[in-house]
Symmetry: C2
Subunit: 135 residues, 2 copies
């Protein structure tokens, strides 16, 4: 009886699955709060970490910003807009090729690729103007 199915755990997982963007822990907390007004922030963080550790969701590290979470557990490619901070999926022509022989002794489990640039909405902006803010 190691893992219990609590309402809170289910709500956190459902919230991540329902959000097509790549929400931060705080955004997930806000979303879950709508359906379970009494939930604690610690509970959301604890469940997100457990779900990520167990491979059910994926954690995306972003420089100078809080981590984000993603409903797909398999490693893939993300795009980070340096202007508005939005994170979204990105298609690659070819995945990076990881050759174990080039790095002997290393055990590779998965990888994460983050492309930095400007999203289609921000690319046309006057870059000297103030960046648009995420809601």
């Amino acid at each position: 009886m190691s893992r219990r199915n609590t309402i809170q755990r289910t709500l956190v997982k459902n919230a991540v699955m329902a959000m097509s963007c790549h929400p931060t822990a705080d955004e997930i907390y806000d979303e879950v709060l709508k359906k379970c007004p009494g939930i604690s922030k610690g509970t959301v963080y604890r469940n997100l970490n457990r779900l990520a550790d167990e491979g059910e969701i994926f954690r995306v590290a972003v420089a100078n910003a809080p981590d984000r979470f993603d409903r797909t557990a398999c490693p893939h490619c993300h795009f980070l807009c340096l202007r508005c901070g939005q994170v979204c999926d990105f298609k690659l022509a070819h995945d990076p090729e990881i050759d174990p022989a080039l790095n002997p002794g290393f055990v590779v489990l998965d990888y994460e690729l983050v492309i930095n640039g400007y999203c289609s909405e921000c690319a046309g902006d006057d870059l000297s103007a103030a960046p648009r803010q995420l809601s």
Copy 2:
């Protein structure tokens, strides 16, 4: 006269250049402290961010851990040991291929690839034992 060459700025940059590993801001602060005992932590952070913004050094985002900095400003591939937290360079057989046509409207500036796994030192450890600690 927008950018001044201060001793502190030079020391911070030199410290990053001298460290072959991928130090955190805190490790760089400790290193600079040896040569300039009065330097403020805020100064180190400010200079690291400026150097990264200006493209002289590179910032590496790590999930659930402080950001790390790297002397090479060009995008490349890092390995993160999930056990000891060490970050090091990693060789790729082929770089990922980014096709602008697949993601219309997006402006790609650079990318960052993080491989997760176990480093050669940790790969042989009993994974149920306590992880080795970085110095």
